[in-house]
């Protein structure tokens, strides 16, 4: 395809409105032609403006993306070391519902008896957002240490039903939180720890912690949770808890 032919197709190409064979020919030319490349880039910006509307993101979509990143990692590549693990993602809908297990409710009642009434009645699914998972080590210990020194921080100890300390988090006033230490046992393949926060009487998924939590960073926007809890869920996580909590702890005011 020569320059004039390709140039005539650029607008249609910017809208993905060309046939496959035409696309290949045009793109081959664009690679070699700065003028066409510049023109196409400008047209793509126009197309981008045309399609640039923002919609509320579905609850759980980030969890799916994040899980697929880690699943892919398990299959082929070593998990990259993350510089940090923070996300703050607002979810605006609550279209998924699942009944809590008795175990989850029972365990939660030991740390938040008042809240459990609301939780058991409403059974509403997450309205805040999902957070992050991780598997790497030392690089994030700095963030947790810094958080422990930050003004206004809150330390939350999570213990099992037998009062065994299993995890400790530190929360900052701006909603960021970090795993300080963990004694959670390594899970078998296909399972992950999932962190929950009780917010306004509802269990909110804060994020997946992986099968061997070592460093976890998350952000909870809006209302601070009154309780943090951890369950074991299928790899990829669950929109609402499906198993009894293995550890929980009250968040001090």
């Amino acid at each position: 395809m020569n320059h004039d032919e390709a140039y005539e197709f650029l607008a249609a190409l910017s809208l993905d409105a060309v046939e496959t064979d035409e696309r290949e020919a045009i793109e081959a030319h664009v690679l070699e032609c700065p003028k066409c490349r510049s023109e196409l880039d400008a047209l793509l910006d126009v197309a981008g403006a045309l399609g640039n509307s923002v919609e509320p993101l579905p609850e759980g979509l980030w969890t799916s993306i994040s899980s697929r990143i880690y699943d892919a990692d398990d299959d082929a590549h070593p998990m990259p070391v993350l510089g940090a693990n923070v996300i703050a993602l607002d979810a605006n809908s609550s279209r998924r519902r699942r009944t809590f297990t008795k175990g989850f409710v029972a365990t939660l009642s030991s740390v938040a008896a008042a809240a459990i009434v609301v939780l058991a009645i409403s059974l509403a699914s997450a309205s805040n957002h999902v957070a992050n998972l991780q598997r790497q080590l030392a690089s994030n210990s700095y963030a947790a240490s810094a958080a422990l020194s930050a003004p206004g921080h809150t330390v939350v100890d999570l213990a099992s039903s037998t009062k065994k300390d299993l995890a400790q988090f530190v929360l900052l006033p701006d909603g960021r939180g970090y795993l300080v230490r963990s004694q959670l046992p390594t899970l078998t393949s296909g399972s992950t720890y999932q962190l929950w926060g009780l917010i306004n009487g509802k269990p909110i998924s804060i994020g997946l912690m992986g099968d061997k939590p070592s460093s976890v960073t998350f952000t909870v926007s809006g209302t601070k949770p009154t309780v943090l809890g951890i369950t074991v869920e299928p790899s990829g996580g669950s929109p609402t808890p499906t198993n009894a909590m293995v550890a929980s702890g009250t968040v001090a005011d």
Binding site: L15, G48, S53, V54
Partner: protein, 191 residues
């Protein structure tokens, strides 16, 4: 520690190249709604739009070097990815669905108001004005190509017009829109 919310898009993509998931999460927070919104509009399906959104961000995670900040904004790049995948999906639908879309395209002609479909926190006014100023025949072919996922050949068949005419209308319509956006001071649309 640097506040990632203050990082530029280009810096975030660089961090993604270093396997920094928090950077990907921040990109998702900034642009996920737009990526999802475009896919949902083209596909008219929340579930399929979620699949497209996943693919777009996984692709960014796996191939961040495909984004060249010198060639445009990250938002435009991601929207182009979203649109391309949505169009791929819509073109791979079965014949029944395809017929439904074609029927809808025929019966909905004139009822579709692009001015209400294209909006953004920062560009809504400019884009709406650009759309308003397009002649109907140009607005229609762009709508069918972009929001309904048709090739110009398909648009020509649906409208019973010569392929060359449709291609020319797409080209002239896009250029008109670009000129309006340039006059409005929108960055990045100048060639």
């Amino acid at each position: 520690m640097e506040d990632i919310s203050e990082a530029s898009d280009a810096q975030l993509v660089t961090s993604i190249g270093r396997y920094n998931e928090v950077a990907l999460a921040e990109v998702y927070r900034r642009h996920g709604g737009a990526v999802y919104g475009l896919a949902r509009r083209v596909l008219n399906s929340s579930i399929e739009a979620e699949d497209v959104t996943q693919e777009v961000f996984l692709r960014l995670w796996n191939q961040p070097d495909r984004f060249d900040p010198s060639r445009g904004s990250l938002r435009s790049f991601l929207l182009a990815q979203s649109h391309a995948r949505a169009v791929d999906a819509i073109r791979s639908l079965n014949a029944r669905r395809a017929r439904e879309i074609k029927d809808a395209a025929k019966t909905a002609r004139g009822a579709y108001d692009m001015q209400h479909e294209a909006w953004d926190l920062s560009l809504a006014d400019q884009v709406a004005r650009a759309l308003e100023e397009l002649p109907e025949e140009e607005r229609r072919v762009i709508q069918m190509a972009y929001f309904e996922g048709h090739t110009y050949v398909e648009v020509a068949a649906l409208l019973d017009q010569p392929e060359g005419t449709v291609k020319s209308r797409i080209r002239s319509g896009m250029r008109r829109m670009r000129n309006v956006l340039i006059e409005a001071g929108v960055q990045g649309v100048e060639s």
